[in-house]
């Protein structure tokens, strides 16, 4: 039998991708559970309050880490392996080492989360897992990223295109950010304010330079791959890429507005955030001008619908983010639950939606089996509903919170907390909906990946039966 080039590539990557997607799914569920616990604690402080492991501070941090490193990390590996191999038209290299480092990565995160729940937290944003875990994670990450780059280097065509830039850059930026932050926080700890600035910078840049460019790269790949049209105004993409690379690490510091840091830091952050309008506009022109030429495909093709939801959410909320970075507005919203809006928008509304789309596009090709349409569209609609509820609740609740908190005459418990409590209730419901939809997603991908998990039992029992007969 003759295989096409694509089929050979897919076969070479099948087990690695299955491993990473399967683990990503489990982390997604873990994160959903923790997210619900954290949200429930805000409406009912006595929820699970008798367990020391489950205090709010620990659960909340564990959730963010499970989400970003567990779900984010694994799905980034899976999807970038596939897209990079496909675009390079080269078979995947180093399969064994990839799976081995993948196991180390996942064990590392598991230990790290247990460490967090046990109280061995590290006090730096998104570096909360205990110190001892990080070398493990860093090495396994480096191995995985190196093999993806090796695969890319063996590409058949010399030229590279937008999805490759974004995905490879995100693969390289994470270790770069990590080394800078780790050096300045642990190896040669910076003194005073600088440490707080660095810690906050890492936490935010991680989202802007790791998750965001990756998801943008996936969108740059999937939109032409599905619609069959080349990216519209493609010549802008390179401009958008360098804008993100140069502006994003500066723009994130606007979150320090009003903090005890030299004033020029948040001021530069604000200016750079305003300048971020360019890359946002470029990405959204590229995506939407291409996709909306056939609104039909967007509507009918589920992976594409997920991706376009993600890119739309990226565009809209990034613009909202620019508005919130203006000092006049930031003064109001700085210390409110608006921060939750930014985080959840990035990781749920944008990153995860695009990854869902990519997984639905990729799995049937890699495994040769399709996921039932009903499950997919249930997943889409519940996700969309959950995300919208979550984001609106955090946005409106955050504004209310910020404005009320500015009035010292109001009594804190009886008026401020009481008036944002309903929003916490909404987020709690939203997390239930999201959890449900993610459960459906994970069950379905597991069913496709391991259609008959107990097959080996049957085989071996058959064998032994045969042996017995013989």
């Amino acid at each position: 039998m003759k295989f096409t080039a694509e089929q050979i590539i897919d076969k070479s990557a099948k087990w690695v991708i299955s491993f990473f997607i399967a683990s990503a799914g489990l982390w997604l569920l873990a994160a959903a559970l923790l997210a619900y616990c954290a949200a429930a604690k805000l409406t009912d402080p006595f929820f699970l309050s008798t367990f020391e492991f489950f205090t709010y501070g620990k659960v909340k941090i564990a959730q963010a880490n499970a989400f970003v490193y567990g779900w984010g990390g694994n799905s980034i590996f899976a999807v970038s392996i596939w897209i990079i191999a496909r675009l390079a038209q080269a078979e995947l290299r180093g399969r064994f080492l990839l799976i081995a480092s993948g196991i180390i990565w996942n064990v590392g995160i598991t230990l790290g989360l247990l460490g967090i729940l046990d109280g061995h937290m590290n006090a730096h944003e998104m570096l909360e897992m205990p110190r001892e875990i990080w070398p493990l994670l860093f090495i396994s990450y480096s191995v995985i990223a190196s093999f993806i780059i090796v695969t890319h280097r063996s590409r058949s065509k010399h030229e590279t295109i937008a999805p490759q830039w974004f995905i490879l850059a995100s693969l390289l930026w994470f270790p770069a950010l990590f080394i800078i932050a780790w050096n300045g926080l642990e190896i040669n700890p910076a003194r005073g304010t600088l440490q707080a600035v660095l810690s906050m910078w890492f936490g935010q840049s991680l989202i802007w330079l790791w998750l965001t460019p990756f998801a943008l790269g996936v969108a740059y790949y999937l939109i032409p791959a599905i619609t069959g049209r080349p990216i519209d105004k493609y010549y802008l993409a390179i401009f958008g890429f360098w804008c993100i690379a140069l502006l994003a690490p500066w723009s994130v510091v606007h979150h320090l507005e009003g903090g005890p840091v030299p004033m020029w830091i948040p001021a530069i952050g604000t200016v750079m955030s305003i300048a971020m309008i360019f890359p946002i506009a470029v990405a959204s022109t590229n995506f939407h001008a291409t996709a909306f030429k056939d609104i039909d495909i967007v509507w009918n093709n589920l992976p594409l619908r997920f991706v376009i939801f993600g890119t739309l959410s990226y565009t809209i909320s990034s613009y909202i983010g620019v508005v919130f970075s203006l000092p006049a507005v930031a003064k109001l919203t700085q210390f409110s639950i608006i921060n939750e809006f930014h985080f959840n928008q990035r990781v749920y509304g944008f990153f995860s939606m695009i990854v869902f789309g990519a997984v639905y596009h990729m799995l049937p090709r890699v495994t040769g089996k399709d996921i039932p349409v009903g499950a997919k569209s249930f997943h889409f609609w519940t996700s969309a509903l959950g995300v919208l509820m979550l984001l609106l609740a955090y946005l409106i609740g955050g504004l209310t919170h910020g404005v009320l908190a500015q009035q010292p005459s109001l009594d804190w418990a009886s008026s401020v907390i009481a008036s944002i409590r309903p929003y916490f209730l909404i987020t709690q419901i939203a997390f239930v909906i999201l959890g449900l939809s993610q459960l459906v997603f994970v069950i379905n991908i597991w069913k496709v990946l391991f259609p008959n998990p107990f097959q080996f039992l049957n085989n071996s029992s058959n064998d032994s039966a045969k042996n017995a007969v013989a």
């Binding site: 080039a5 694509e6 089929q7 496909r86 675009l87 038209q89 065509k157 030229e159 590279t160 295109i161 937008a162 790949y221 032409p224 791959a225 599905i226 619609t227 069959g228 049209r229 080349p230 990216i231 105004k233 493609y234 010549y235 390179i238 030299p262 004033m263 020029w264 948040p266 001021a267 530069i268 604000t270 200016v271 305003i274 300048a275 309008i277 495909i297 009918n300 093709n301 000092p327 049937p364 090709r365 040769g368 399709d370």
Partner: protein, 216 residues
């Protein structure tokens, strides 16, 4: 095998097509109107530079000092407020043990300062009392004090400014309302009475300063 409903684009073609697109030379006008673009760019750069100029505080490490412009009246009010605050502190530590924090004194022992005609009289009087002390019989608000030799007041060892502050406070607390006492006047009185070691005698001061007031 792939169950795609739409043909989509093969990866090979995708790389090919986009590489070609990337190689193409684009005149800057293609697909975009230059004028509005430049305008938007210009506006953004303008807004950004204003924002930078306003809020970077010339890249200094420390936040700027708040410079608040006060009118003359506000300055005066602020000065008086500070003087009274300081006077209150001095009163609590140096005088309240005898005259009590509420300024009412203790019957037959320590005369009241609240509503006392001694306090509100010529500022020289209270200054002199604090500087040198007071003994002998006096009448305050119609009551007699200092009837026993033990019940007298010794000089309070504080400097001119403190005397000015505490007298100003006493003359304006608990419903009293009399003029401010100035440091320079206190200094004058101190030099004028430099030779005196004894306490003042109650009747002498009373007849000098309060002859009209205490007729009873």
């Amino acid at each position: 095998m792939a169950p795609a409903k739409f043909d989509g684009m093969k990866d090979d073609d995708m790389v090919e097509i986009h590489s070609n697109l990337g190689r193409e030379k684009h005149p800057p006008t293609k697909g975009f109107l230059v004028a509005p673009l430049i305008f938007v760019f210009g506006c953004l750069i303008f807004v950004c530079s204003i924002q930078l100029a306003h809020s970077t505080n010339s890249f200094q490490v420390h936040p700027p000092q708040e410079i608040v412009e006060l009118t003359e009246e506000e300055k005066e009010a602020l000065r008086l407020e500070r003087k009274l605050d300081s006077g209150k502190k001095i009163f609590t530590s140096k005088c309240a043990s005898c005259h009590q924090p509420n300024g009412l004194g203790i019957a037959t022992q320590y005369p009241p300062l609240a509503g006392s005609e001694w306090v509100s009289a010529n500022p020289e009087l209270i200054t002199k009392i604090i500087l040198k002390g007071l003994k002998g019989e006096i009448t305050v608000k119609g009551e007699k004090y200092g009837t026993s030799p033990a019940a007298n007041m010794v000089a309070v060892p504080i400097n001119d400014r403190e005397i000015a502050n505490v007298s100003t406070y006493v003359r304006n607390a608990w419903g009293n309302s009399a003029s401010e006492v100035f440091e320079s006047d206190v200094a004058d009185i101190r030099t004028n009475t430099a030779g005196q070691n004894e306490q003042w005698i109650g009747e002498a001061l009373q007849s000098e300063y309060l002859s009209g007031a205490s007729t009873e």
